[in-house]
């Protein structure tokens, strides 16, 4: 019984992690149709920025909740700056080109940013555990849950609801949806697609950095954390459907719960789970779980 509960909580925590990492990516892909490998860099920069912020903040002995907020704001600011630099500085020169060329550009950028991180922060690892430890824990029988994980789940839910509401009910959100659906028609209706692209990329960057920031207190922030995250994020995004926030959420939940179940019950298949889930979803829903119908263009 406790195991079932543990699977549920673990699944939710892992899903929150996946969702926060994937939501920025699905937005960028949905709007700009770009497979943004640099998303891993946003995550890494967010994590490193959070680690530095935590270091600065907690030296002064200020309340922990403020530290959490400070860390998030710093990371998102870094994401903002990075997003602007990359979009204006590199990406806008390659918009018209072959999709795969754009992927290569983002991949080359990612490689370079890995070494930029090493130049700024050095090759050693950083710790940012203070917010996680300060949050404390709660015991449910033998199971001890970290309150920080609960905060993560709440944050992911908040971002999901906020994003969904923004896309559906704000003017800008509806513009974004229009561009996701059909860029050319949106442009024909007078939507300034270039501005939409820039803003979307920046929002995606900030969300990626947010993902890195909230994970930083749990992990050791070290070189290479961006790499592992990319494949996970892509898998979730593809499973859920591109450009769809509810898709990213559902994909994250399915993968998270399946993986948690695997770890508890059948640890041998844990390595395959995310890929098997993705493959299975694609067999039945070739475009992912939540995609709008695509008109066939003759």
């Amino acid at each position: 019984m406790l195991t079932a509960f543990a699977i549920l909580t673990d699944g939710l925590v892992y899903a929150a992690y996946l969702f926060l990492v994937a939501v920025g990516l699905t937005l960028i892909f949905g709007v700009m149709k770009i497979l943004n490998v640099t998303h891993g860099s946003f995550y890494a920069f967010g994590a490193y920025g959070a680690a530095t912020a935590v270091g600065i903040y907690f030296e002064r002995g200020l309340p922990a909740a403020g530290g959490f907020l400070f860390m998030i704001l710093v990371a998102m600011a870094i994401g903002l700056v990075l997003g602007v630099i990359l979009e204006r500085g590199i990406l806008r020169f390659v918009y018209g080109k072959d999709e795969v060329v754009i992927v290569l550009v983002t991949y080359a950028t990612f490689l370079m940013l890995e070494d930029v991180i090493a130049l700024i922060w050095g090759r050693q690892s950083y710790a940012a555990w203070q917010p996680m430890v300060a949050a404390g824990s709660v015991e449910i029988g033998d199971l001890v849950l970290s309150n920080y994980d609960i905060v993560l789940v709440a944050l992911a839910a908040g971002v999901a609801m906020g994003g969904y509401w923004a896309l559906k009910y704000t003017r800008y959100g509806r513009l974004l949806t229009a561009v996701i659906f059909d860029r050319e028609t949106a442009a024909a209706f007078g939507v300034n697609v270039t501005v939409v692209y820039t803003v979307t990329f920046i929002i995606g960057a900030m969300l990626g950095a947010l993902g890195g920031a909230v994970m930083a207190p749990k992990i050791s922030v070290t070189l290479g954390i961006g790499v592992e995250v990319i494949v996970l994020a892509f898998a979730v995004v593809v499973t859920g459907g591109l450009g769809s926030i509810e898709g990213a959420l559902t994909g994250a939940l399915i993968v998270g719960l399946c993986r948690a179940a695997a770890v508890h019950l059948v640890p041998q298949i844990e390595l395959f789970v995310i890929y098997a889930v993705m493959a299975l979803v694609l067999v039945f829903r070739p475009y992912g779980l939540f995609t709008q119908a695509q008109p066939r263009k003759i």
Binding site: V101, E114, D115
Partner: protein, 315 residues
């Protein structure tokens, strides 16, 4: 088949083969691996021309490599021709089966499904401790129709084997590019529906291309297994696939030669970068490649334009 372009290419391969004994051994070894990888890139070019970029070619690469390694280890067969043919065949079989599913997908879904397949193979290999898990295992030295070279002669023999295979494959694929199936790549990329209205099955065509590229990747993997004399599950990992895609896009889909030249240039550049910049070669390589993409707009960007036009018949 014997167009001017193809004859020039054949002569280039022949010249390389003749020059090999006079080149330094480290360069010959590097070229051997680069050309073996070039075969995988060639397979990717075939698919890219049709608008598809799989992120899981490492699946076939590893299938070819492990077939050679396993046969060598468990059956005592040493003849390189048999082993390489078996590797290519096994990869082709895998490609045929996987292709049945894969051919129905396009764009990013094609890429990700192909990646998922290769990662599943990776997972299986990692879990197999008898095969050394991530450490992999050694591939015994091969024999060439009874001839068993060692040392520098072995390096040359392997190079000639790879060169010969690449030359042969290059010729076949160059012919394929001007065949009906090859020429249909551009229309499929532009507008599948119209091709279907012409009465052709796009899914079947793509399945064929997946199989061909799978065989090529398996061939490359089999040769690499012999050249490096070691196989490990990393050969099926997505970063290996990514590396191949990287070289493909750099080389461009313009011609068969581009695949091999591009692969060689990449390996050489990487080796030089590591040699001179042991701590920062990644940024150098990434930067150099970024500059190449940005400032060679005709080289790479024009591909999109060129492929949209009907390709001229090779004279």
């Amino acid at each position: 088949m014997w167009s001017r372009q193809n004859i020039a290419g054949a002569l280039a391969f022949a010249a390389l083969a003749v020059a090999a004994p006079f080149l330094p051994s480290w360069l010959v070894s590097l070229a051997t691996i680069a050309f073996a990888n070039g075969l995988v890139v060639l397979g990717l070019v075939i698919l890219w021309r049709a608008g598809l970029v799989p992120f899981g070619q490492a699946l076939f690469y590893a299938a070819g490599a492990y077939t050679v390694a396993l046969m060598s280890r468990y059956t005592g067969l040493r003849d390189v021709f048999v082993l390489v043919a078996a590797g290519a065949l096994a990869a082709g079989l895998v490609a045929f089966l996987i292709g049945l599913l894969l051919a129905r997908y396009r764009d990013i879904f094609f890429a990700m499904l192909s990646l998922a397949m290769s990662m599943i193979l990776y997972g299986v290999l990692v879990k197999t401790e008898t095969l050394g898990s991530t450490d992999g295992f050694h591939v015994e030295t091969g024999t060439f129709l009874g001839y068993a070279p060692r040392g520098a002669a072995l390096g040359l023999a392997l190079f000639w084997l790879v060169l010969g295979t690449c030359g042969f494959a290059a010729l076949l694929i160059a012919t394929y590019f001007v065949s009906i199936a090859g020429v249909l790549a551009a229309p499929v990329r532009d507008n599948e529906i119209r091709v279907e209205f012409l009465g052709l099955s796009v899914d079947r065509l793509i399945h064929l291309k997946v199989v061909i590229s799978g065989v090529l990747a398996g061939l490359g993997g089999a040769l690499a297994a012999l050249a490096v004399a070691h196989v490990d599950p990393n050969m099926a990992y997505w970063t290996t696939s990514g590396g191949f895609v990287f070289v493909t896009i750099l080389a461009g889909a313009g011609s068969v030669a581009a695949a091999f030249v591009g692969s060689f240039v990449f390996e050489l550049a990487r080796s030089i970068a590591i040699d001179f910049f042991p701590g920062t070669w990644q940024i150098i390589l990434g930067g150099a490649l970024l500059l190449t993409i940005l400032f060679l707009p005709e080289g790479l960007g024009s591909l999109a334009g060129r492929l949209r036009r009907v390709p001229e018949k090779a004279s």
